[in-house]
Symmetry: C2
Subunit: 136 residues, 2 copies
DNA sequence: GTGTTTGCAAAGTGTTTGCAATTTA
DNA sequence: TAAATTGCAAACACTTTGCAAACAC
């Protein structure tokens, strides 16, 4: 079990003022299992927990958390932005029928022979998305 | 060099009526090197070539071409849809500073030990995106 | 002729922004 | 109290849709 102040520590470490809204969102995000969320899903969850926070503030917080390394953005769907509380090196299953993501631990899958990028470029990240659907 | 009628053959094979707009777009897309495009970029290119076509029709055509296997959609950026005329199995470099894509031939890079998907699911596709940026 | 396709403009969706009011330190 | 943050509503970018006019077969 993580300590009650985990969310607060995360905000402090990121240099973000622990406002009521940011602290409440950080608790939802970081005081449990790792998770995948969208702005809408986190906003809905906040409302369900009687946390008054606007959608704009959720967007702001997600970007601030991402910029400071607390979250990682995952691009799997052209119409929505996903965020992952697990910022370590790993990849994903993407379930196309319901839009859900599932982690694939880093050691279980490797990308071999990643080619050199063109001159003057460096690799920022290698993302693997395994798109799955219901078997016929 | 590909024959002049390549675009027409592609449309026929896909069972799409070769209208003036579809034929013109297919020529831009399929009578040259493989390429990566967005709806806006293809629309702009059509206008530059004095092809009168609306943006809505470009969107329609891109989806029809994708549904019939002439194009492949690539998800690398949450705010835009990209399409690739190369429908064979391969992966991509994505240049974050300008939004461009570059193919990585399939044989040059492999994903090892792709895990079994959860029960009842089958793998639809494995996408690898190597995100690169300008070296410091 | 008959069904398909197009273009337009309006609507839709997810996201961002400007700014006054509020909150934090 | 000074600076940062919030909430709202408007603005945005990209994409989709409804429908009458134009087109393909």
């Amino acid at each position: 079990m993580r300590p009650y102040s985990h969310a607060l520590e995360k905000l402090r470490a990121a240099g973000l003022r622990p406002t009521r809204q940011r602290l409440a969102l950080a608790k939802l995000l970081f005081e449990g299992e790792d998770r995948h969320i969208t702005a809408e899903s986190l906003h809905g969850e906040a409302l369900d927990n009687n946390i008054r926070v606007s959608l704009a503030t959720v967007y702001n917080a997600l970007h601030q958390f991402t910029d400071s390394g607390l979250l990682r953005e995952i691009v799997v769907d052209a119409s929505r932005s996903y965020f992952d509380t697990n910022t370590s090196d790993h990849h994903h299953f993407f379930f196309e029928h319901n839009g859900e993501l599932m982690d694939i631990p880093g050691e279980n899958m490797l990308v071999c022979d990643v080619p050199e990028p063109p001159a003057g470029m460096t690799i920022n990240r290698v993302d693997v998305v395994v798109r799955v659907r219901q078997a016929a």
